[in-house]
Symmetry: C2
Subunit: 302 residues, 2 copies
Amino acid sequence: MKLPLSIDVGGTSIKVGLFDNNGKLLKKYSVPTIITKGNDDRNVINQIIDIIYKEKDENDILSVGIGMPGPVIDGVVLGAHNLHLNEINLQNIIKAEFSDLYIKVLNDANAACLGEAKFGSGFGYKNIVLITIGTGIGCGIMINNKIIEGKSGSTGEIGHICVEKDGLLCKCGKTGCLEKYASASAISNLATRRYNEYGKSVEKVTCEEVFKDYERGFNPAIQAVNEACYYLAIGIGNIINILNPDVIIIGGGVSEAKELLLEPIKFYLKEFTFYGTKETLVVTAKLHNDAALYGLSEIGND
Amino acid sequence: MKLPLSIDVGGTSIKVGLFDNNGKLLKKYSVPTIITKGNDDRNVINQIIDIIYKEKDENDILSVGIGMPGPVIDGVVLGAHNLHLNEINLQNIIKAEFSDLYIKVLNDANAACLGEAKFGSGFGYKNIVLITIGTGIGCGIMINNKIIEGKSGSTGEIGHICVEKDGLLCKCGKTGCLEKYASASAISNLATRRYNEYGKSVEKVTCEEVFKDYERGFNPAIQAVNEACYYLAIGIGNIINILNPDVIIIGGGVSEAKELLLEPIKFYLKEFTFYGTKETLVVTAKLHNDAALYGLSEIGND
């Protein structure tokens, strides 16, 4: 039986997953990403090729889905800056090496959205937005069962939609970006400020601690979570009003807080959705860090 | 030669257009919409049927595209409140009467987007957002050459995305909606306030007068236009960051101001778009009030 192989390339490690034809993850491992400073951008590509050769030796491979951390359109990586890859047709390069395999390259957030759509919280829906809240805020969008890549592979930059006019300065150069108010680091910074204002002297509260304190009713934690969720609701409300999706799936590290995160988001969301769009479901992701691997195993079926 | 017929149903009139097979508008007329108060929702449907019979008598009809003012999904009108039509499968009703014709029902903003895509400012692009700025702010979205309808036909409710936290109260019940800051009536209200503050006593300045005064450098008009365009740029920036489209087309009455409207929008938009999405074109519409008729003539080719 020929099997789908998934390779999810990140800035620090490359995750590899082998699946059966029913979407069951048979094995998973990761290797450190080799990045040479400068312009020798073949290192990561050679790593990908080596992984495929190795897996082909050991298994009967059907397809290879490759996830990349940056905008991708029709298999062309437009800019994976961490990996020193720019405007490179990775899909064609890999196809040239393995003409007997079905190959597809996707942006990693889009791959994760596909994974949640086929095997996770989006199962059975055709209009899905996956929002990952971690150090930054990422997003993958599926419309009518198809991942959308846009003009230049940059759909779903919701970490940088404006939720506060004349707001905080973001590293992207703009102000008021959602990422500055509701990413893991933003929640941590905000909570640290609120704890100290309250008189509890702390150097740094982690996002995990904030949600624990929120659960036990510690007021500065409640304030910080509510404030972040209010801004998330503005951003998510905008997406719902524009796309009218079936379901919003929230993933990434912060989503481990589950209902503690969902409840205030849903509460504030009522203020920001237009009546025709109020029925959109808001749920947390199921596949955690493996969502992209699952999605990449599906590339032969899209 | 069999010809496409377009019927664009509005709250006050029904516009009819007959096209040749090259998208040329051969004839156009309109009739008043007959709306009976109460639940007799067959009036408008009978009018549509009568129009089709009349045109069939006189011409060899190929297809009938019908535009409706409210959410439509797969030919089902979910709520055209002005017309007392709710959850009615208009497409099937018309198909049952004219089994020999190809029939399709679309939301009017989506039809207009299709029109601009095929015959107007969106020609040659596959990811298009049409924003119509009139009394309200409407929107049609095309992704990969397909109009998107969402879960419940309510895509593109950008008049109700939040652009000002704790902002002005909208008739929809939410606060800070784009429509309250940048529709024709919002611009008119804002300018009237600014003119009076400046010492020029006016009861009501029309949107057209505001742009004339803006062009000749009258300060309160400049303030009002810039303020509206700033909010439009927040809303359009959010759309661009989420959808990464090829082109944003601005239509509706306010778009007659052309460059006077586009220039400040583009100026402020730099503040609100993420780097990968900065290349999106922003242009005005070409087909004015006939965009939906043109789009509805294309339903056999989608």
